[in-house]
C-alpha cells in the first residue's frame, strides 16, 4: 500500500521533471514565413525582382497576421524600401512609421531614412 503510494509519487515526480524539460520548447517570438528567403532573393537579384518580392512579402504578411504572430524586426522597413523602388511613395513613409511604432529601438535610423527620403522626394 505504502509502496504503491511511493511509486505513484515517483511517477508523478518523473513526469513533472520530464515535462519541465519539454516545456522549454516554446513558441517563437515572431512569425517568419518566407522573410529571410526573400531577403536572400533581394540580395541575389540586386533589386531586379522588386515587384515579385513585394507580392511575396505582402502575401506572407497576411499569413503572419492571420496566425496572430508578431511581425519580425525589419519586415516593414524592408517592405518600405521596396515600395520606394517602385514609386509607391505614400506607402514608404507608412511602412517606416510602422517599423518605428513596433520597435522604438529603430527610431534614430527610421528618422534618418525618412528625412533622406523626404529630401530626395522634394528634389
Amino acid at each position: 500500500m505504502m509502496n504503491k503510494k511511493l511509486a505513484a509519487g515517483f511517477a508523478l515526480g518523473l513526469a513533472l521533471t520530464l515535462a519541465g524539460c519539454a516545456s522549454q520548447k516554446q513558441k517563437t517570438l515572431y512569425g517568419w514565413g518566407n522573410y529571410q528567403n526573400q531577403l536572400y532573393e533581394h540580395f541575389k537579384t540586386e533589386g531586379n525582382g522588386n515587384e515579385a518580392e513585394i507580392a511575396a512579402l505582402e502575401e506572407n504578411l497576411q499569413k503572419i497576421r492571420a496566425q496572430g504572430e508578431a511581425v519580425p524586426p525589419g519586415y516593414h522597413a524592408h517592405l518600405g524600401m521596396l515600395y520606394a523602388s517602385v514609386g509607391k511613395d505614400d506607402q514608404v513613409i507608412q511602412q517606416l512609421q510602422t517599423e518605428k511604432a513596433l520597435f522604438p529601438e529603430s527610431t534614430p535610423y527610421m528618422d534618418f531614412l525618412m528625412n533622406n527620403y523626404k529630401k530626395g522626394a522634394a528634389k
Binding site: M2, N3, L6, A7, F10, G13, L14, T17, G20, C21, Q24, K25, Q26, T28, L29, Y30, W32, N34, Y35, Q36, N37, L39, Y40, H42, F43, K44, P72, P73, G74, A77, H78, M81, E99, F103, E105, S106, T107, P108, Y109, F112, L113
Partner: protein, 221 residues
C-alpha cells in the same frame, strides 16, 4: 526491499532535478562587459568573405536576423543598412568594418554592431562523398563605448548527423528552418548557412550570445 528501491529511485529523481536539462560544459565566456552594457539593438554589418564563394555574404546576411531577433534583440533591417552603406560609396565589407564606431552609432542608433567573417562557404566535391560546409566568426562591439562585448565562431556541415545538435529551442528552430528552406530552394550552402547562423548567433548556446531585452529569458542566463 521495495522501499529501498523507491528510495534509490527518489534519489535518482533528485539528481535528475538538480542537473535539470543542463549539459556539462567547460570554460565559460567572460560576460562581464556584455552584462554591463545591456545592448537592446544590433546592427549587422555586411560580412567579410574569406571563402571562394561570391554569394556567401548574401547567404549569411539574409539569415542573421532570425536568430538575433528570436534571442530578444532588435535587428537593424539588414537590407536597408546594406543600402545605406552603398549609397555612401561603401560596398566593400572590409572597409565598412573599419568605419569609426561613433559614426555607426550616429546613423543607425544601434547599441551594438555585429562584425562577421565567413571562413568557409560551399560544397567540396570528393570521390566518395561531397561536403557542404559553412563556418563563420563574429564579434559584437558596443557602439556607445567601442568595447568588445562578445566573440564566437560556429560551423555546420552536411556530413553531420542532424540529431547531434538538436537541443531544446535552438534545435527545434534549426529543424524548422531546414524543413522550410528545403521546400523553397535547392541551394545547399544556403541551408547549411542557416544552421551556422543559428549556432553562431542564437542565445542560449554554450558561450553564445546572451538573451536580449525582448526575450522572456533576458537576464536569466
Amino acid at each position: 526491499m521495495i522501499a529501498g528501491t523507491c528510495k534509490a529511485l527518489a534519489a535518482s529523481l533528485l539528481v535528475l532535478l538538480a542537473t535539470g536539462c543542463a549539459t556539462k560544459q567547460q570554460k565559460s565566456y567572460d560576460y562581464s562587459e556584455f552584462r554591463a552594457a545591456r545592448p537592446a539593438s544590433i546592427l549587422v554589418l555586411p560580412p567579410v568573405n574569406n571563402s571562394a564563394e561570391v554569394i556567401a555574404p548574401y547567404g549569411i546576411l539574409a539569415q542573421a536576423t532570425q536568430p538575433l531577433a528570436e534571442s530578444g534583440y532588435y535587428v537593424i533591417p539588414v537590407s536597408l543598412a546594406a543600402e545605406t552603406f552603398k549609397q555612401n560609396g561603401l560596398s566593400n565589407p572590409a572597409d565598412i568594418h573599419e568605419l569609426p564606431v561613433p559614426k555607426l552609432r550616429e546613423i543607425f542608433g544601434a547599441d551594438a554592431a555585429l562584425y562577421m567573417k565567413i571562413t568557409s562557404y560551399g560544397t567540396s566535391y570528393q570521390v566518395v562523398q561531397s561536403e557542404t560546409l559553412v563556418a563563420a566568426e563574429a564579434r559584437l562591439v558596443d557602439l556607445r563605448s567601442g568595447k568588445l562585448l562578445w566573440q564566437g565562431s560556429a560551423r555546420a556541415s552536411s556530413l553531420e548527423q542532424q540529431q547531434q545538435n538538436s537541443n531544446g529551442l535552438i534545435g527545434m528552430l534549426v529543424a524548422a528552418v531546414v524543413n522550410q528552406i528545403v521546400s523553397t530552394t535547392s541551394d545547399a550552402s544556403y541551408k547549411i548557412a542557416g544552421i551556422t547562423s543559428y549556432r553562431l548567433l542564437g542565445a542560449g548556446n554554450h558561450n553564445g550570445l546572451l538573451y536580449g531585452p525582448r526575450s522572456p529569458y533576458y537576464q536569466k542566463n
